[in-house]
Symmetry: C2
């Protein structure tokens, strides 16, 4: 009996994440409404709060999926070039990141909007997903400079991730500072090559 | 008579910008409300739309001021080190940018939120302010590589601005990927030095 309840709870949880994901993909995370979600899921509004602490909690669950897909995309981008020089792999990863953002603009944006929408603590698993994404970048960086300390690699990983993120973010804001995608790819090329070898 | 009308119109415009600026500084651009602004300015709501096409138009006017202050801050950051090597000047500018963002988080954020809040065209003067900010960065970049074409410098300027912006943006999102300010300064140091000389 308790197991059935658990099962139904897990099913509702998945269904709500599916619906919220589709909603964010189309209209962005600011458009999430408990009432509309409950209606589409065929449950009471209160039932949502039995499986998620609050709406930001649901958004975090969607972001968890997005992180997994983003990580896969970045990993796939280098899968067939595992033997390429570190810089080339960093560029392939960065372009995979760009491609994911271009294909999933609203889901990608939602990854960085939690801070603004939630006052609750960011859960352990979320930070772990984030650091797993960073770990993919840290590999080639360590190869570039085998003598760097763990702390140096962590700082460089953050700096490069943030840099590529900035290029993608401002590049996608078409109406103000936006640039064509090939131009963004040139910026990424330029940044990572000059970073690795001086200019 | 017509001149008096013009004068009153200009005064109301300035007053509205002052009020909106204070509002954004404290509560962010999403909190701007025509009714509340009109009340504080002692004018009818309709009067706002006699001086600005819409609320995003008013936000753009506030951003125009913020751009000017940001540009001054970045210029001041190198004023006394005009003879320093290009890389050092780029680092000083980037740290000036970081300092401005830390001191004016909501006004700084509002500079990049127009795209999301307005469907109207971005005015000529706004793009000019943006390119003036870029021009400050382009100088040292040209010195670093006198043979670079204008297009190359423009691309590098955008890439570096976006990179530093990304470090500042993610760095300031304390609850998710945030880092202490000295750590952000180290990332900026690292990025710009390795960019200029390889690592």
């Amino acid at each position: 009996m308790a197991r059935d309840t658990e099962k139904r709870r897990a099913e509702l949880r998945e269904r709500l994440i599916d619906i919220a994901e589709a909603q964010i993909q189309e209209h962005g995370s600011a458009s999430l409404r408990a009432r509309a979600l409950a209606e589409e899921a065929g449950c009471a509004v209160g039932a949502i709060y039995n499986v998620f602490t609050d709406m930001p909690g649901l958004q975090l669950a969607v972001n968890g999926r997005t992180f997994a897909r983003l990580g896969a995309r970045v990993t796939d981008a280098v899968a067939e070039r595992a033997d390429a020089p570190p810089v080339e792999r960093l560029i392939l990863m960065a372009k995979g990141y760009l491609a994911f953002a271009v294909e999933n603009p609203k889901l990608w944006r939602a990854l960085f909007e939690v801070e603004m929408t939630s006052d609750s603590e960011v859960p352990e698993w979320y930070m772990r997903d984030l650091s797993q994404l960073f770990a993919i970048i840290a590999g080639p960086l360590s190869e570039l400079d085998p003598n760097a300390t763990e702390d140096e690699i962590e700082l460089r990983t953050r700096a490069l991730f943030s840099s590529v993120h900035g290029i993608v973010l401002l590049g996608l804001e078409r109406r103000i500072s936006g640039v064509p995608i090939p131009r963004m790819e040139s910026m990424i090329d330029y940044l990572l090559r000059s970073f690795a070898s001086g200019n």
